[in-house]
């Protein structure tokens, strides 16, 4: 059996009386692309912050890359990659500086940094742009660089929080090609998105409603279970039942 990279059991987080994440239990396997969906306010961000070692749960168990979220959250941070649309790169550093900065933070040696930076710039076809400020590049390029930077230290798992918001349909698909490649190389991908067609690119998908996981299966399994034509329909059926506002 493939081993789990993320494991949660009854994971719960309360803020006062409010149960943001309500006893969620799931496993993500090595090399899997796992889609983490839910309406705004369903509890996705809270769950993701716990799994990234940024927030302590109230109760339940969780481990990421073999490290416990209560006791070893600093180790978790070293062994994951993270990228979101809101924060990805420093706009007033160049492409090369960003790669070296993030690589340095993740503990790559000078030699590794030099080599990896050169390889990455070559692979992204950015020789012309390597010394330009990131702020001057189109959004689609930034997203591709940000993803490459997030996996530069070969983390066990990379967390992507709405990585493709606002980018054009071609870039969005090229971005997913990069995700597939990373998964193929054994990196586990944990991704949130509001594009339901992207949910279909995932190996398995969970849908959160009101703090709980309301459904979890392969996209085709979910469509069968909810007798739906598309993931969009599955999502609507589940999220319409939500009691809690945002």
């Amino acid at each position: 059996m493939t081993k789990s990279v993320i494991h949660t059991e009854g994971l719960t987080r309360k803020f006062g009386d409010f149960v943001a994440v309500n006893a969620i239990t799931f496993d993500v396997k090595e090399g899997e692309i796992f889609g983490f969906l839910g309406a705004n306010g369903a509890g996705k961000t809270t769950a993701m912050r716990i799994l990234c070692g940024l927030l302590e749960p109230t109760s339940g168990k969780a481990s990421v890359a073999g490290y416990d979220v209560y006791r070893q959250n600093e180790e978790i941070k070293k062994h994951i990659g993270y990228m979101s649309q809101k924060f990805s790169l420093y706009e007033n550093l160049t492409v090369r500086e960003n790669i070296q900065f993030f690589g340095g933070i993740y503990g790559l040696t000078r030699k590794e940094l030099r080599e990896k930076t050169a390889v990455l710039i070559e692979r992204l076809g950015l020789n012309q742009e390597a010394d330009k400020l990131v702020g001057s590049l189109p959004l689609g390029w930034k997203q591709k660089i940000a993803f490459s930077v997030a996996i530069l230290h070969r983390p066990k798992v990379v967390f992507l929080d709405e990585p493709t918001g606002g980018v054009d349909p071609i870039t969005r698909r090229q971005f997913w090609d990069m995700i597939y490649e990373a998964a193929h190389e054994g990196i586990t991908v944990f991704v949130t998105t509001h594009y339901m067609d992207e949910a279909e690119y995932c190996d398995r998908v969970s849908i959160m409603v009101d703090g709980s996981i309301a459904a979890l299966d392969t996209p085709s399994g979910l469509k069968k279970q909810f007798q739906a034509e598309s993931m969009d329909e599955v999502f609507l059926q589940l999220a319409r039942g939500a009691k809690r506002g945002e």
Binding site: A39, L139, P169, I170, D177, P219, S220, S230
Partner: protein
């Protein structure tokens, strides 16, 4: 009759270095729900800022309700509602205070135009004493729409109102726009979500400052018919790579679980099944399909590269 008229608008930034809008022309009819569909950086926000008199174009002219966006800016500001892409209400005022403020600025009262916002406002009214800065994304969006509507504008400009919003809330938002349209308000709305094109009367597809196409959704799709197939096989990773490497194929992009493959006009589905069999694929499925708006947008992007 046209409510918005844009003629050969050009806008550059950074001393002409960055071309945001490149000779853009279009008209929006009175009472129409008009969509500007395109990714970040397409020029949508520049266009909105010109039409709401917040930015002056380098060249070209534009009218809103028969008024010139440069000469008649004060008059235009009275009759348009604008919801910017970035949340721009007062974060340290409450929901109720923000709404009252905007009503007062436009010499009206909340009571006078309550009928316009009622349906939206009742959803956030329970929190009316909460500071705007403390609201969730969906609630901010509803408050911003109320503030843009409170002076009963003739034209409503909504810049990416649904970005980052989940599919259920997005559908509800578009339902609200339908009802505002029924009241006779002309609406210009931008979105990066291609599927929302079907909610507009007419759309302009915009990319890198240029309008690629402008018409009803159906007309645009029909005009750009393509020899398109949905393809699937057991090993999807290899399928993707094999399709990308085949130089006979015009384009291949992932769409959900399948790959959408465009072939040259005279090719048939047999070509694909034989090619994939030769590559050792199993579980091959090939079927001819009609393009969606996203397929069409991709085709137009490739043609304009």
């Amino acid at each position: 009759m046209s409510t918005v008229r844009v003629e050969n608008i050009k806008k550059t930034y950074e001393k002409g270095q960055v071309l945001a809008l490149d000779d853009v022309s279009f008209e929006v009819k009175s009472g129409e729900l008009f969509g500007l569909i395109g990714p970040d950086g397409a020029g949508k926000t520049s266009l909105f800022r010109i039409l709401t008199t917040l930015l002056v174009p380098d060249a070209g002219r534009a009218e809103v309700a028969g008024l010139d966006v440069v000469k008649d800016l004060w008059k235009i500001r009275q009759i348009v509602g604008y919801m910017p892409g970035k949340f721009s209400l007062y974060q340290d005022l409450s929901i109720e205070e923000n709404l009252n403020f905007f009503a007062t600025v436009f010499n009206t009262t909340v009571a006078q135009n309550y009928h316009l916002i009622e349906e939206i406002y009742v959803q956030i009214e329970p929190f009316k004493h909460r500071l705007a800065g403390k609201l969730s994304g969906g609630m901010k969006q509803k408050l911003a729409l109320c503030c843009a509507l409170i002076h009963e504008p003739k034209v409503l400009f909504l810049d990416e109102p649904t970005t980052g919003v989940d599919p259920v809330s997005r559908k509800e938002f578009w339902d609200m726009l339908d009802r505002l349209k029924a009241r006779g308000i002309t609406i210009v709305v931008s979105t990066p979500y291609m599927d929302e094109a079907s909610r507009c009367d007419r759309i302009a597809l915009i990319q890198k400052g240029k309008i690629l196409e402008l018409d009803t959704l159906d007309q645009i799709i029909t005009r750009h018919a393509q020899n398109l197939y949905a393809v699937d096989a057991d090993n999807r990773y290899n399928l993707m790579n094999d399709l990308r490497k085949n130089t006979e194929i015009v384009s291949a992009f992932a769409f959900g679980e399948e790959q959408h493959v465009t072939l040259p006009p005279h090719f048939q589905d047999k070509y694909l099944s034989e090619f994939l069999k030769e590559k050792g694929h199993t579980g091959i499925k090939v079927r001819k399909i009609a393009p969606t708006i996203e397929d069409t947008f991709i085709k137009l992007m490739l043609e304009n590269q």
